[in-house]
Symmetry: C2
Subunit: 242 residues, 2 copies
Amino acid sequence: MRNLLLTLRFHGAAFHGSAIQPNAPTVQGVLQPALERLAGEPLALKCCSRTDAGVHARVFCVSVRTACRIPCERMIPALNAALPEAMAVTACREAPEDFHARYSCKGKRYVYRIHNSAVRDPFLADRAWRISRPLNEERLNREASAFLGRHDFSSFCAAGGGVEDHVREMFTSRVYREGELVLFEIAGDGFLYHMVRIMVGTLLAVHDGKCPSVREVLAARDRSRAGSTAPAHGLCLEDVLY
Amino acid sequence: MRNLLLTLRFHGAAFHGSAIQPNAPTVQGVLQPALERLAGEPLALKCCSRTDAGVHARVFCVSVRTACRIPCERMIPALNAALPEAMAVTACREAPEDFHARYSCKGKRYVYRIHNSAVRDPFLADRAWRISRPLNEERLNREASAFLGRHDFSSFCAAGGGVEDHVREMFTSRVYREGELVLFEIAGDGFLYHMVRIMVGTLLAVHDGKCPSVREVLAARDRSRAGSTAPAHGLCLEDVLY
């Protein structure tokens, strides 16, 4: 038996999230049958995380134990020929026997893209949330720094995640501007259900004076004190750390 | 009467080119009725150029004479509310009475994007032509410099353009790499039918040893000596010079 680590890239608009669902195309729902046809056996895929419908990934990792003997370099084109245009396998390598895409994961890095413009851009509409009012990226960045370190993120967790422990550690949390794009980069050892999107909604609520501060929202440990959930299509999983 | 200069941006996949056509969405075919409803009168739009089906534009200019009195800054949101997501009006200003988006144009700048990778990228598939074999951008750039200056571009003109004079002057012609993207930037005082796409096809033919040199293809003044026509979705009109 081999343990393979596959790296994917996908455009979120084409998928109803990563986990298999009946009657809806999902990342695992598309990848698993393609991989099983190639391997000629039923497979149990392990995904690095559950992503919401519409969320993009430049890097998304899947591990799978298989008896299939196809060399890694031949797996990539064979899988890509079977997968839809909105998804690509970018790498495939042999992983240690005990490697697990989710449990071996040391952290993840996301970028949330805001297109800060009064006018839409047809080249950004599918990958950034457009906000017309002028945003002060320095003010947003000062607030974002409050996420750094180890905190109970209960205020930033939507109901339905099914996780008890809400303590996570953030390594990177910053907001910066690239022209009309305002980007929120966040890396941490784990993320709760809708966490990054609620962080973005809260940063904007503080920016607009509707919320006192990220620090106070964190301390409250109460979802109702945070901002709203920013739309999925601005979010992209950029990196998975092992 | 005012003479308005509108600046557009559009994603080429949504349009069958710029010129009005029956039974197909086109840039002018979508913009004209939106503008006429706003102005309350029939209008004659002048477009900076004819673009092929599938070609993108970051900047595309249209001039129109109208009795409509809506201020420019209110035209932009009113038009954008009526236009499809794949198109946006990014600017509107008063132009001199004799200004004509096509005849007043001093030049245009295009970028052709090649995604040089063995693996597709779902975020580039709609905006770059993927070529798997490794490309040498320095060799391409050396060949591209032969387009600079004043030449008869008959070898780079598809049949059906209906233009007699094939002499044009190129101000910029270079190939450079940004990671997996290989970009061909070309600016000149005018372009013939399919000209940039045949230039790209010819650069690749020379790169691959199927064509002697751009210089010889130019001298031949014969379309059959040039390379094939590169696909439309890699091409983007970046700037229009007045």
